[in-house]
Symmetry: C2
Subunit: 315 residues, 2 copies
């Protein structure tokens, strides 16, 4: 048996009807923030759930839909008395918001986030949030729609949630954040922020950038006077879905995970150049081999339990 | 009124219960060939439908499922007495098969195909099939599954079918092939083989090659010891579907539409390099503009009636 710093696990506490948190403050009431609120309230994980959002429409919708009990314009006001703060805002805004709330954080309040890039956020948290209460996280969930209207209490059921503790993270804080995600249905994994960013540069960031480049090519052709839309139902359609993700979110991801993404694009360019050379040289055998090899990814993905059961575009 | 070389249109004839063809011979009893057979028989468009396939399993299944009444190993035997021959075989096999059947074609038999590349096939037909009976075609339909077991009489309902007549194509032959596709539910368009190949290099061939290059990158990383499959449910998933298309079919398409595809890859590479430079230079504004611009493709595709209602991977 290993020593446990908590007298009982968060999940045990929930099963006895004890809320995990007294007051959860969600900064950012979009799809993810709204869904965290709904999920916490539906499962009675907190005595109180409040939120903050700059957009008055989001605040009104989040209250009307029951994502939060109260909604503030000011993040510092929202975190008053909170023992958990969830930052559900675009990656690029996280440093500024942490800077804004750091001085107002109640002692002991745990801070987590849902950003798709972890290295830069972990570094910011390490610098601005001493005391061990910072637990960087990334729930792998999303929908094509955004905003609180698209929120669902079940969004995270069966989804993976990756926590990337930093050297200063207090084990109790980590355990509490793990308890939250587990309780709202996610499958929690732990890894380093660097490993997270390396994996997601490959499986998520690169595919999105490639889809954007492909859409850019088609838009360029259209601007050259080619009307291709009528024929775009085929291979292109799958890419248009990926490229519908939020431009702002992807701008932030590109900037925050710059080095890993550039490295992945370089690897991709080599693979594409190889195919180009084969096409150019009419190397049918080589092309066949490369195309057949690509199928192994799909087959491997198919073997991973639960993969591909949901629509997730913003990961 | 325009002069009509047919006394009545094929569709008028069908509506009076007159079959369009006496004997249809389908060379290649896979998904598309099998579906053409089922669709013709379900709608009584031909007095008789027969087929040919090298694979004895395909022949047995096509007969058992009712795709054809009779199935031959030898294409020349299958076309005996046919007034329509449909070549439903991989693009790369078409020249060889045309060479094999040309001497055995009944006089007056119309020949069409379903290949995804039209320029090279049109050239082969022009050379080997004099007499005006050749009508190159491309129904835009497919499924993730292949083989006669996946065939459906409704596969072409609502799908586009592009006919690319060559200078020698007899208007009556063209009208009869148009009648066939219209009768089985397709929306028939006409354009030159060159225009077809230019459009499909952009909307179908390029996306498939990009998906293959992306899968190749992921496979390379896996071979370097990175197990990414567990995380591949996101952006990557849409690409794995595209990359599941048949390696043989895509090898043939790459070889047959080589120049147009290389040109499209070059355009794509420029678009990707532009994004790379922006990421490298931390040009957030430029990235945002490019990402926002990509959404216009999806919006335009959404406006085209019927686009994206079906699962089509092999176009």
């Amino acid at each position: 048996m290993t020593f446990r710093s908590t007298p009982e696990s968060p999940i045990d506490a929930i099963s006895r009807g004890v809320p995990l948190f007294q007051r959860v403050a969600i900064i950012g009431l979009g799809l993810i923030g709204g869904s965290v609120g709904l999920a916490c309230r539906a499962r009675r994980l907190a005595k109180e759930v409040r939120g903050a959002d700059h957009d008055p429409g989001h605040r009104a919708q989040a209250i009307a839909l029951g994502c939060v009990g109260e909604a503030f314009e000011d993040s510092a006001a929202a975190i008053d008395g909170a023992d958990l703060v969830v930052l559900a805002i675009p990656v690029g805004e996280i440093p500024r918001v942490i800077q804004g709330i750091a001085a107002h954080l109640p002692p002991g309040a745990v801070v987590t986030d849902v950003g798709s890039v972890k290295g830069s956020i972990a570094a910011t948290m390490e610098r601005l949030l001493p005391g061990g209460k910072a637990v960087p996280g990334h729930p792998i969930a999303g929908r094509e729609l955004s905003g609180p209207m698209a929120a669902s209490a079940e969004l995270f059921v069966g989804a993976k949630c990756i926590l990337t503790p930093i050297p200063t993270t207090d084990p109790v804080a980590l355990e509490r954040v793990r308890g939250l995600w587990t309780a709202i249905g996610a499958d929690v994994l732990e890894m380093s922020p660097e490993r997270h960013d390396e994996i997601f540069a490959a499986v998520s960031h690169l595919p999105h950038i490639v889809a954007y480049a492909l859409m850019g090519t088609i838009v360029d052709l259209s601007e050259d006077g080619q009307d291709l839309h009528e024929f775009a139902a085929g291979g292109l359609k799958d890419f248009t879905r990926v490229a519908m993700s939020h431009p702002l979110m992807w701008r932030d991801i590109c900037l925050a995970n710059r080095q890993q993404i550039l490295e992945m694009i370089r690897r991709f360019q080599s693979a594409l150049s190889r195919l180009m050379s084969m096409i150019s040289a009419e190397d049918g055998e080589g092309l066949y081999r490369q195309f057949a090899r690509a199928r192994t990814v799909r087959e491997a993905v198919g073997r991973v339990k639960g993969a591909g059961n949901r629509t997730r575009s913003d990961e």
